[in-house]
């Protein structure tokens, strides 16, 4: 059977679901050590992973577009202008 994109998505969704489920199971039955209050939430890492990723992408892109990203010849152009003077 040929693996299609649809199959891959099903695998992804299953993995996401399984990770959440095992998170609850581990939390309920194995009682891992807790160092910070947020670790009492069995799905904290899932939420942090998702929100963290979105924040990193949007935050960095905003930082880049409004400030840090310049055209590729930025330094060379400055060099040329100095040479022209």
């Amino acid at each position: 059977m040929k693996i299609t994109r649809k199959h891959l998505f099903w695998i992804l969704y299953s993995c996401l679901f399984l990770s959440i489920l095992t998170g609850f199971l581990v939390h309920s039955y194995l009682h891992p050590p807790i160092y910070f209050f947020w670790e009492t939430l069995p799905v904290f890492s899932a939420i942090y992973g998702f929100i963290g990723c979105v924040v990193i992408i949007l935050g960095s892109k905003a930082l880049g577009h409004y400030w840090l990203q310049k055209k590729e010849d930025y330094y060379e152009k400055n060099e040329k202008m100095r040479g022209d003077n």
């Binding site: 992804l12 993995c15 996401l16 990770s19 959440i20 095992t22 998170g23 581990v26 939390h27 194995l30 891992p32 160092y35 910070f36 799905v43 890492s45 899932a46 939420i47 942090y48 992973g49 998702f50 929100i51 963290g52 990723c53 979105v54 990193i56 992408i57 949007l58 935050g59 960095s60 892109k61 930082l63 880049g64 400030w67 840090l68 990203q69 310049k70 055209k71 590729e72 930025y74 330094y75 400055n78 060099e79 100095r82 003077n85």
Partner: protein, 617 residues
């Protein structure tokens, strides 16, 4: 019987022999050197030589230079440097230019010199050789950009070297010792503190701690394909080694490391060049190690965990980062391209490279069963043991960003993204694939069987990475990162831009300095020059006939006054007389009698005497 042989010398002397061989013999020699060094290390570990302590002590200017300080910390770093050098040389084996190999082995040898240095003079010597030899790995690319980046690289390292030397000399002045042990640390402006600050500054420059990090992301991506792979391992990780040695438990490093981990990730989002993106991830990953060193308070369980974590992460990082740079280098080698905007759809041509690269990507992201998982979690665990919530969140957050870029954005943009390949490509030469395969195997081996690594660490390891909660937590974190990436993947296409970094300050300042020299400074110099020449000409003119010259000057002054008070006719007449005098100047010189000449000479001597007496008193 010989008590020890320095592994670094195998590389340093071996590098000198490389140009003598050609063809297969040279290739054999290149691979033999790391094998010899590895056997040497095994013999040290097994106790065939001295296995702990200090050896190769040479007298120098009344001090003892210690070339061989052997303990668990130096051995774990030496092992990884030697293993990595074999994989890297295998990757570079097809390179015909012998100079590149010589530079690479001088670089590896000097790093081993740093690792085994037991005193500060030896450390400084090898530190400088390390900086210089790495420079040639950049310059051998032979592009205008690589020359410029190399110059900037070496200038930053010159600065670092001078700070180190200054610090060492101050340390020597205050303690009368050149032993390389833990430095005293405290806030304040005492000489011993300043010595520590200078030495720490030098170490932090080599570790690429922000804001002193820009040399790395500026220079490494401009190096040769194979040179960049060597560069990823040695400078920054030897800096971690010296930080562990010199500044364990310095609290400042915890925050700096966490900032570093996040900073690298943020810059990587904006990057278009795949090797520069990976270079930013070196900064990010070294952040974990710097943070670990900061948490490494001696004599505490959490501190020992942090130091073990920093050393283990350095070990693993060297392997997976080399693998990632090998993958990106392979793409550059076969396509001549390294920008995401010019790549895409290469999976069709380079599937093996892609899969091997992905092992590096899983490792750096900390997927269970890969080596990043067994080392990175130690540092994160140490931050939990110290109850540092902000640091913990920053380090976990950096994990998200790492997977996002090296595991998703880069491979997506290079091997997929478009249905149609962006250019023709093929798998790289066999030796490159073999090197990637070997490194990928080592990354997986350490991930599956971490005991091999843990047994080498400086302190006994009481950490179990594969607990159900560690595995589940990491899986949740990475899987949901993937979900967010998939939803926002259109925002992550490469953009044909560069990102300003802290190198902007010295790149632009450099241009301003050159402008200042060329414009205002040269104008001022020309003005001063002209004025001095005018004065000289005047003195020559006066000395032709001082008596007449003085009278001309007197007449000129009178004329100026007359111009203000008299009518123009009188002034004109005076001007004519003056012009006539100037025309006749110097005229006939008055003849002096012998007696008058003698009096003049005596007068001038008397003047000298008066001047002399005035000066003396």
């Amino acid at each position: 019987m010989i008590d020890w042989f320095h592994p670094g010398l195998i590389y340093l002397f071996g590098a000198l022999l490389i140009p003598l061989f050609r063809g297969r013999l040279r290739k054999g020699c290149l691979l033999l050197l790391p094998i010899l060094a590895f056997v040497n290390l095994l013999l040290i570990s097994k106790g065939a030589f001295l296995s702990e302590g200090k050896t190769w002590i040479l007298p120098f200017l009344g001090y003892d230079l210690i070339l061989g300080r052997i303990d668990r910390l130096s051995m774990v770093f030496a092992y990884v440097f030697v293993i990595a050098s074999f994989c890297m040389m295998l990757y570079a084996l097809h390179v015909k230019e012998e100079g590149q190999h010589v530079a690479a082995y001088l670089y590896v040898g000097s790093t081993l010199g740093v690792v085994f240095a037991g005193d500060l003079f030896t450390l400084f010597f090898f530190w400088e050789v390390m900086a210089w030899s790495a420079l040639f790995l950049i310059w051998y690319r032979r592009t205008k950009r690589s020359f410029a980046a190399g110059f900037r690289y070496i200038l930053v390292h010159f600065f670092g070297g001078i700070c180190l030397l200054g610090g060492i000399l101050l340390h020597l002045q205050t303690t009368s010792s050149i032993a390389f042990e833990t430095f005293s640390w405290g806030w304040g402006l005492s000489w011993s503190n300043i010595a520590s600050y200078l030495i720490l500054l030098a170490f932090l420059i080599n570790a690429a701690v922000p804001p002193l990090h820009a040399w790395l992301s500026d220079a490494y991506p401009e190096a040769t394909v194979t040179g960049a792979v060597f560069l990823t391992a040695f400078t920054t990780k030897s800096a971690i080694y010296v930080l562990i040695r010199g500044f364990p438990g310095v609290e400042l490093l915890i925050g700096l490391g966490a900032i570093m981990a996040v900073c690298g990730v943020v810059f990587a989002v904006l990057e278009n060049d795949i090797r520069r993106l990976l270079a930013y991830h070196i900064i990010s990953q070294v952040g974990y190690m710097v943070s670990g060193v900061g948490m490494g308070v001696m004599g505490t369980a959490a501190g020992e965990m942090a130091i073990n974590g920093a050393a283990a992460h350095a070990f693993c990082h060297i392997l997976y980062k080399a693998l990632l740079f090998m993958g990106a280098g392979a793409v550059l080698e076969v396509t001549g391209r390294s920008k995401l905007t010019e790549l895409g759809g290469l999976y069709k041509y380079m599937p093996i490279t892609f899969h091997l690269y992905m092992i590096g990507a899983y490792s750096i992201s900390g997927f269970p069963l890969f080596n990043g998982f067994v080392s990175k979690t130690m540092v994160v665990q140490a931050s939990a043991m110290w109850h540092m919530p902000v640091i913990w969140l920053m380090l976990e957050g950096a994990s998200i960003g790492t997977f996002l870029h090296t595991g998703l954005k880069l491979p997506w943009g290079t091997w997929f993204a478009s249905e149609k390949p962006a250019c023709e490509a093929k798998e790289p030469p066999k030796n490159m694939l073999a090197a990637m395969g070997l490194t990928a195997f080592l990354c997986t081996l350490l991930g599956v069987y971490p005991k091999i690594l843990y047994n080498q660490l400086p302190y006994p390891v009481h950490y179990q990475p594969y607990t159900p909660d560690h595995v589940v937590t990491m899986c949740q974190l990475l899987l949901f990162t993937f979900l967010a990436f998939w939803l926002l993947r259109r925002m992550l296409h490469g953009e044909p831009t560069i990102t300003l970094d802290t190198d902007w300050f010295y790149r632009m300042a450099g241009k301003r300095v050159i402008w200042f020299c060329e414009k205002p400074l040269i104008t001022f110099a020309k003005f001063t020059d002209r004025k001095i020449m005018d004065l000289v000409h005047f003195i020559i003119w006066v000395s032709r006939n001082p008596a007449v010259a003085l009278s001309i000057k007197k007449e000129e002054a009178k004329l100026k006054v007359k111009k203000l008070v008299m009518n123009p006719e009188g002034v004109e007449k005076h001007e004519q007389v003056l012009e006539e005098k100037r025309r006749r100047y110097p005229g006939e010189l008055p003849r002096l009698t012998l007696g008058a000449s003698l009096i003049l000479i005596l007068l001038s001597f008397s003047l000298y005497l008066i001047l002399y007496l005035l000066m003396v008193h």
